[in-house]
């Protein structure tokens, strides 16, 4: 499934990284502890996090994650969005909680 399909199905708002919407997404990783994400997330994962600073883009880029979803309509820092545009990492925002997002992603047929 492409990131843009997930965006459309879940009514996510794109904040940055539009050029990365055609990336393939496989699996979901949901965690806010960055070292944990660094050592456990897999490439192409959709990453759900409440962290909003620039380093989330560095992590997504290093691990080749497909996109970042920010739950509960949290506003993302401007320099994070700039960096996401440079690195083509889509940052998507939702009013749902992390848990609700996981449920919906699962219903879409995305496995762990």
């Amino acid at each position: 499934m492409k990131v843009k399909d997930i965006m459309n199905s879940l009514n996510l708002k794109i904040l940055a990284g539009e050029n990365g919407l055609d990336k393939d997404a496989r699996g979901v990783y949901c965690c806010d502890l960055l070292s944990w994400v660094m050592s456990h997330a897999k490439s192409q994962n959709v990453w759900i996090t409440v962290q909003i600073h620039t380093n989330i883009v560095a992590i997504a880029s290093l691990l080749e994650l497909s996109c970042i979803i920010i739950p509960e309509s949290i506003e993302v820092e401007e320099n994070t969005l700039e960096k996401a545009n440079e690195e083509n990492i889509p940052i998507l925002q939702s009013d749902l909680t992390s848990y609700q997002l996981c449920v919906k992603l699962n219903q879409l047929g995305i496995d762990e």
């Binding site: 660094m38 380093n55 992590i59 691990l63």
Partner: protein, 140 residues
């Protein structure tokens, strides 16, 4: 064992915005050299953790990567408080990161253990009030 190239990046204390750039450059370089993706991932994890440790804990330092035909050697050295008890620092979950860094999702006490796990060889040396130096080797 032939050294192909060597690069050095300065890492500034507290610079969360640029933190990760050295790792990102090293990753791109390894991709250009055609190194396997799973090996690159291990190097990225180790290098990123080392880089962010310099940003969070030190007064500044550098990351130096030496690439040989069969391995990469990464040295991360900083000026700063040093590590009082290395055995304790190597334990998962033990962290001395300041509160603001924890709020950003750092300081989980996973950095050094992650580095060690990701590398084939891992060496750490520190002198209180002076420096910490980590040397990591990953074979291709």
């Amino acid at each position: 064992m032939q050294e192909l190239l060597s690069i050095k990046y300065d890492v500034e204390s507290g610079d969360f915005i640029r933190g990760g750039e050295a790792s990102s450059s090293i990753k791109k370089l390894l991709q250009q050299l055609g190194i396997k993706a799973d090996i690159i991932k291990r190097i990225c994890v180790a290098c990123y953790e080392a880089e962010m440790n310099i940003v969070i804990h030190s007064l500044g330092g550098y990351i130096e990567a030496k690439i040989f035909n069969n391995k990469i050697e990464i040295v991360a050295k900083d000026k700063g408080p040093g590590i009082e008890n290395i055995d304790l620092a190597m334990k998962e979950g033990y962290s001395t990161a300041p509160e603001y860094a924890r709020e950003m999702g750092f300081g989980g006490g996973m950095g050094l253990p992650n580095m060690k796990k990701s590398c084939d060889e891992f060496y750490i040396e520190s002198k209180i009030g002076e420096y910490t130096e980590v040397r990591m080797v990953v074979y291709f």
